[in-house]
C-alpha cells in the first residue's frame, strides 16, 4: 500500500472525486469487480444485477478470496495487492493496479464484501448505486441501455478469459452464460451465438514482439458499424482506432467500403512494449512501436483471409460485388452545416414556395438513363431532372409505412423459413425496447431464449431486402443514434430506419420499367422532393437555368 502523505481533503471526498472517474455508471462497477475476481484467479464469476444495476450489483467468484483484514484495508484508497514498486508499474500483469476501485465504489453505494461460506472466493455487493450523488444518478440512461453496457463488459471479459465461466443474470433472467472451457470459440459462441460464430475463421500469427490470434469473419459476414471489432491487448479489452484501421485495411477490397468485419483479436505483446496507464478506466493503450503492431494485425488477418476456404475466384467475386454496393451514411449523422453551404441546390429547394412544388409535381417525368447506377436522369420535356434512386425510394417506403401505421396497419411479408437471430446483450436490449413498434410495422419477431429472436415476417415494403440483415442493420443503427424519449419521435425514427434499410441502394441496377414505377410512386407521396431525412430526392434543371449556364 502506498501511504497518503499529504491529506488536505477528507478521504471520503477524495474517494467521491475518484469515483467520478472510475464509476461512471453501473457497468463501471461491474467492470471493476469482475477485474478483481479475475485478478484473484477466479474460474467462475457470477454477476447479478437488479434494475440495471441501480438497485443491486452482486459479483461472486471462486477466486483466491480475501482475509477479514484484507477486506478492511481494501476499502482504503490506493490500497492494492497488485503492485508494490514503481518497477512493477512498467511490468503490469494484472488488470487493476491503482487501488482505487473498491473505495470508489464504496463511496457511491452501500457496499458489502463477504467471504463465501464455502471458503473460496468472495461476494461483493453494491446496492443503491449513486444514492448519495443524485447528479450522477440523473445522468444514467434507460435501464435497457445500462443493461446493454453491463452485457458488453461481461461479454468482453468472457471473450478475454475463455477458461473462466461467466454468468450474467439481470432481474433473475440469465443473459450470458459462457462455459469456461478455455476455448475462445466457445466463449464467442456464448456471446455472439451460433450463427455468427459459424462465419468465422481463425487467426494465429507471430510477429517480432509477440503474437496475434483470435477469430475474424469471412468477407461475406459484415456489419454496419465497428461494434463487432473487438481487440484485446494482453487480454485486456482496449480501444485503439489504429488497430481498427489495421484490421479494416486487411479487408480492403474484400468487403464494401462502408461495411465492417467481425473480429475478436488478441494481441500478446511484451508488457514493456505497451503503456496501459494512459486512461483511468484503462480502455486505451499506447504501443511503443505502433507501426509494428498494426502491420502484425494486418498481415495476420490477411493471411487468414487468404487461406480459409476462399479461392481466388471468390475474392474476385467480392471485389466485383463491392461496386454494386453503396449504403450511404445516414444523412442525419452528417454535419448539417456543411450540407447547406456546400450544396446550394439544397438550400434553393428549401426556398421553393409550396405552390410551385405542387405544379411541378404533376408533370410526369420520363426516365432516360440510369447514371452511375445511382441517379435516374429524367425529363418531362421542359426540364431535366436527376433523381437519387435511394432517396426517392426511401421517401416512397417511408410514406407507405406511415400511411399503413395510420390507416389499416402494415402488411407483413412472411418468410419461407423463419430466421433465428442471435444478438449480444446490448443489441437484445435495444431490440426489446423497440420490439412492439417494430412488430406493428410488420416485423414478426419473437423472443426465443435469452438473447435470440425468431423472425417470421418483415414489413411488406421490405420484401426486397434480406430479412435478417435488415433487422441487424436496424438494431445496429438504433444503438448508434441513441433513443428519443418522446414516443412519436421514436416511432418516426424507426420508420425512417426501416425505409432507409429497405430501399434500393445506390449501385442497384434498375430496368426502364422499374425507373418508371419509381417515379410514379414517388409522385403519389406527400413530399416527393425530399427524402424522410430532408435530403432532396431530385435536382431539376430548368430551361432558364440551362440558358443561363450556356450564356445564351
Amino acid at each position: 500500500m502506498v501511504p497518503v502523505k499529504i491529506q488536505v481533503l477528507p478521504e471520503d471526498l477524495i474517494n467521491k472525486i475518484a469515483a467520478g472517474e472510475v464509476v461512471e455508471r453501473p457497468a463501471s462497477v461491474v467492470k471493476e469487480l469482475v477485474e478483481n475476481s479475475l485478478d484473484a484467479g477466479a474460474t467462475q464469476i457470477i454477476v447479478e444485477i437488479q434494475e440495471a444495476g441501480k438497485k443491486l450489483i452482486r459479483v461472486s467468484d471462486n477466486g483466491c478470496g480475501m482475509s477479514e483484514a484484507e477486506i478492511e484495508i481494501s476499502l482504503e484508497r490506493h490500497s492494492t495487492s497488485k503492485i508494490a514498486s514503481v518497477d512493477d508499474l512498467f511490468n503490469i500483469q494484472t488488470l487493476g493496479f491503482r487501488g482505487e476501485a473498491l473505495p470508489s465504489i464504496a463511496s457511491v453505494s452501500k457496499m458489502k464484501i463477504e467471504r463465501n461460506p464455502s471458503g473460496s472466493g468472495v461476494t461483493v455487493e453494491a446496492k443503491n448505486l449513486f444514492y448519495n450523488t443524485p447528479a450522477r444518478k440523473k445522468f444514467l440512461k434507460a435501464d435497457s441501455t445500462e443493461v446493454g453496457h453491463i452485457g458488453e463488459i461481461v461479454s468482453k471479459y468472457a471473450l478475454a478469459y475463455p477458461q473462466t465461466a461467466f454468468r450474467l443474470i439481470s432481474d433473475g433472467k440469465p443473459l450470458i452464460n459462457s462455459p469456461g472451457t478455455g476455448k475462445l470459440i466457445d466463449a464467442i459462441l456464448a456471446v455472439y451465438g451460433t450463427d455468427l460464430s459459424r462465419g468465422l475463421v481463425e487467426v494465429n500469427n507471430e510477429f517480432a514482439a509477440g503474437k496475434v490470434y483470435g477469430f475474424i469473419s469471412r468477407p461475406t459476414v459484415t456489419r454496419i458499424d465497428k461494434n463487432y471489432e473487438t481487440f484485446f491487448v494482453n487480454r485486456r479489452y482496449i480501444k485503439n482506432f489504429l488497430l481498427n484501421r489495421a484490421l479494416e485495411e486487411a479487408y480492403r477490397t474484400l468487403i464494401p467500403s462502408n461495411r465492417y468485419p467481425v473480429a475478436v483479436l488478441f494481441i500478446e505483446i511484451d508488457p514493456r512494449q505497451v503503456d496501459v496507464n494512459v486512461h483511468p478506466a484503462k480502455r486505451e493503450v499506447k504501443f511503443l512501436k505502433t507501426n509494428e503492431v498494426m502491420e502484425a494485425v494486418r498481415s495476420a488477418v490477411r493471411k487468414s483471409l487468404e487461406v480459409g476456404d476462399m479461392g481466388k475466384g471468390r475474392e474476385a467475386g467480392l471485389v466485383e460485388s463491392n461496386k454494386r454496393w453503396g449504403i450511404e451514411q445516414p444523412v442525419d449523422q452528417l454535419p448539417m452545416t456543411s450540407f447547406q453551404t456546400s450544396n446550394p441546390t439544397f438550400t434553393q429547394y428549401n426556398n421553393y414556395p409550396e405552390a410551385e412544388i405542387e405544379v411541378t409535381a404533376i408533370q410526369p417525368l420520363i426516365p432516360l438513363y440510369q447514371l452511375k447506377l445511382t441517379y435516374i436522369v429524367a425529363t418531362d420535356g421542359e426540364e431535366l431532372a436527376l433523381i437519387d434512386q435511394h432517396a426517392a425510394h426511401e421517401r416512397i417506403l417511408y410514406d407507405q409505412l406511415t400511411q399503413g401505421a395510420r390507416v389499416n396497419g402494415q402488411g407483413a411479408q412472411t418468410l419461407l423459413v423463419p430466421e433465428t437471430i442471435d444478438l449480444v446483450t446490448s443489441e437484445a436490449e435495444i431490440l426489446k425496447d423497440n420490439l412492439e413498434y417494430l412488430n406493428s410495422l410488420g416485423f414478426d419477431l419473437e423472443l426465443f431464449g435469452s438473447n435470440s429472436y425468431i423472425l417470421r415476417a418483415v414489413p411488406a415494403v421490405s420484401s426486397k431486402s434480406p430479412a435478417k440483415q435488415l433487422i441487424l442493420d436496424i438494431i445496429a443503427e438504433l444503438g448508434e443514434t441513441g433513443k428519443s424519449v418522446q414516443l412519436e419521435v421514436k416511432q418516426e425514427n424507426l420508420r425512417k430506419l426501416v425505409a432507409c434499410h429497405s430501399a434500393i441502394k445506390a449501385g442497384d441496377k434498375l430496368t426502364a420499367q422499374e425507373m418508371n414505377q419509381l417515379i410514379r410512386d414517388l409522385y403519389t407521396t406527400q413530399n416527393p422532393l425530399t427524402c424522410p431525412h430532408g435530403r432532396p430526392t431530385m435536382i431539376r434543371l430548368t430551361e432558364a437555368e440551362l440558358l443561363k449556364r450556356f450564356g445564351r
Partner: protein, 379 residues
C-alpha cells in the same frame, strides 16, 4: 502469330467472349480477349475470375502464337468490318495488323503471359443434358434468386442431380432458387450415366451468361462437370467454367406444403394480365394484393389511399372450399406467371397463412411457393 478467318465467324466469337470480359475490373488485363492460334484454328478466351470461357473460331493459321487484344476496341472494329476475310498478324513491335480488303488497322496488343489461365476440373462428376431443357430450367428458377450479397448462398441456383426423394416426383435433375420469400423449383428426368450425386450452388451471373450463349443451340448435348468448388459447361467448342457458391442452401423440401385445401385453375395469360393491372395500383401500397376465391372466379383486389383501387375478376375452375382470402406481393406472382409456358396454371391455397403454390397444369415438374402477406384485416 498470323491467321485469317471469315468476319462473320470472328464476330460471333468476339461477341460471345466479350460477354465474359470484365468491364470494370481492378485487374485491367481482364479487359482483354486472349487469342491463341494453333493447328486446328484459333481459340478465344475471356476471364473475369468469376466466370471464364473459351471458344473456337475456324481460321487458317499461318503462324502459331498467342496475344491479348482489348475486348471493347476489338469488338467495335469487328462488328463494323465488311463481310470478308480478315487477317491478323503480330508484328515485331507488338502491334497486331488486322487487314481486310485494301484496308488495315494496327492495334496495340499485350503479351499473354499474365492472363489468368482457365482452370480445368480434375475428377469432377459429369452428366449431359439437352441445352434447351437446361436453359428452360434456368429461366424458370433464376428470377427467384436473391440479389443481396448478404445472403450469399441465395444469389445462386441450387442444382441437384440424383433421384428426388419427394413423393410423386420422377425427376433426377433439379434446380431450385429462393430469396427467402418465394421459391422456384423445376425438375426434369434426364439420362445420367452412372447416376452421379451432385449438389451445387451456381452463381446466377454465370447462368445468365450461359443462357445468353446457349440460346437457340440444340444440336448437341451440353456437358456439365462439377467439382467441389467449380462447375464447367461444354457445348461443341464452347467451354465455360465458373466457381460455385459455398454454403448451405436452405432445405427446400421442408417448405413444400404437404397438402392444400383449395385449388384454383386459371388461364395463364388472363391471370398474368389481371395481375399486371392490379400491380399498377398495388405498387403504391407495398404491392399488397388480396386474393379471394368467390364462386367460379378469383378476385384480385388492391388499393392505395389517395390513388385508387382495383378489383380484377378472373374466371377459374375451383376445387375445394371457396372461403379463401389471402394477400400476396403481386410482383412475386407476375414474376412466375411470366415464366410459365403452360396454357393453364394452378394456384393452391392452404389453411390460414400457409404459402400459396403455383404450378403449370402441364409441362414438367415445376413448383413455385410464395409466402403470403399478413394484413391487419386478417386472412
Amino acid at each position: 502469330m498470323e491467321f485469317s478467318c471469315e468476319k462473320r465467324e470472328l464476330q460471333i466469337g468476339v461477341a460471345t467472349a466479350e460477354k465474359i470480359v470484365a468491364t470494370r475490373s481492378t485487374l485491367p488485363i481482364l479487359g482483354n480477349i486472349l487469342f491463341e492460334a494453333g493447328k486446328g484454328g484459333i481459340k478465344l478466351s475471356a476471364n473475369n475470375l468469376e466466370v471464364g470461357m473459351e471458344l473456337g473460331v475456324k481460321a487458317n493459321v499461318n503462324k502459331e502464337g498467342s496475344i491479348l487484344l482489348p475486348a471493347k476496341t476489338l469488338s467495335g472494329i469487328v462488328s463494323k468490318l465488311p463481310e470478308t476475310k480478315v487477317t491478323f498478324k503480330l508484328n515485331e513491335n507488338g502491334t497486331v495488323r488486322i487487314s481486310y480488303d485494301q484496308s488495315h488497322f494496327s492495334l496495340h496488343s499485350l503479351p499473354p503471359d499474365e492472363f489468368p489461365a482457365l482452370g480445368k476440373i480434375k475428377d469432377g462428376k459429369t452428366f449431359s443434358v439437352d441445352p434447351e431443357i437446361f436453359i428452360s430450367m434456368v429461366k424458370q428458377t433464376i428470377f427467384a434468386v436473391s440479389n443481396s450479397e448478404d445472403k450469399y448462398m441465395l444469389t445462386g441456383v441450387l442444382m441437384e442431380v440424383g433421384k428426388s426423394n419427394i413423393p410423386g416426383e420422377t425427376n433426377n435433375l433439379r434446380m431450385v432458387a429462393t430469396d427467402g420469400y418465394r421459391l422456384a423449383k423445376r425438375g426434369e428426368k434426364i439420362e445420367a450415366k452412372g447416376d452421379p450425386a451432385i449438389s451445387a450452388i451456381i452463381p446466377a451471373k454465370a447462368l445468365t451468361e450461359l443462357v445468353k450463349i446457349l440460346e437457340g443451340k440444340k444440336k448437341e448435348e451440353l456437358k456439365v462437370c462439377v467439382s467441389a468448388d467449380q462447375i464447367s459447361f461444354r457445348y461443341e467448342d464452347i467451354y465455360m467454367i465458373s466457381r460455385l457458391i459455398q454454403g448451405q442452401f436452405p432445405d427446400y423440401k421442408q417448405v413444400i406444403p404437404k397438402k392444400s385445401s383449395t385449388r384454383v385453375t386459371l388461364d395463364t395469360r388472363d391471370f398474368l394480365r389481371s395481375a399486371e393491372r392490379a400491380a399498377v395500383i398495388a405498387s403504391g401500397s407495398a404491392n399488397v394484393t388480396s386474393f379471394e376465391v368467390k364462386g367460379e372466379s378469383l378476385h384480385l383486389t388492391a388499393n392505395t389511399p389517395d390513388v385508387g383501387s382495383v378489383v380484377e375478376i378472373i374466371k377459374a375452375e375451383v376445387k375445394g372450399p371457396e372461403r379463401v382470402r389471402i394477400s400476396f406481393n403481386i410482383r412475386l406472382i407476375t414474376d412466375v406467371l411470366g415464366a410459365i409456358n403452360s396454357e393453364k396454371v394452378m394456384i393452391e391455397f392452404g389453411e390460414g397463412l400457409s404459402p400459396g403454390v403455383i404450378k403449370p397444369e402441364s409441362g414438367g415438374e415445376y413448383l413455385y411457393i410464395v409466402m403470403p402477406i399478413r394484413t391487419q384485416e386478417g386472412v
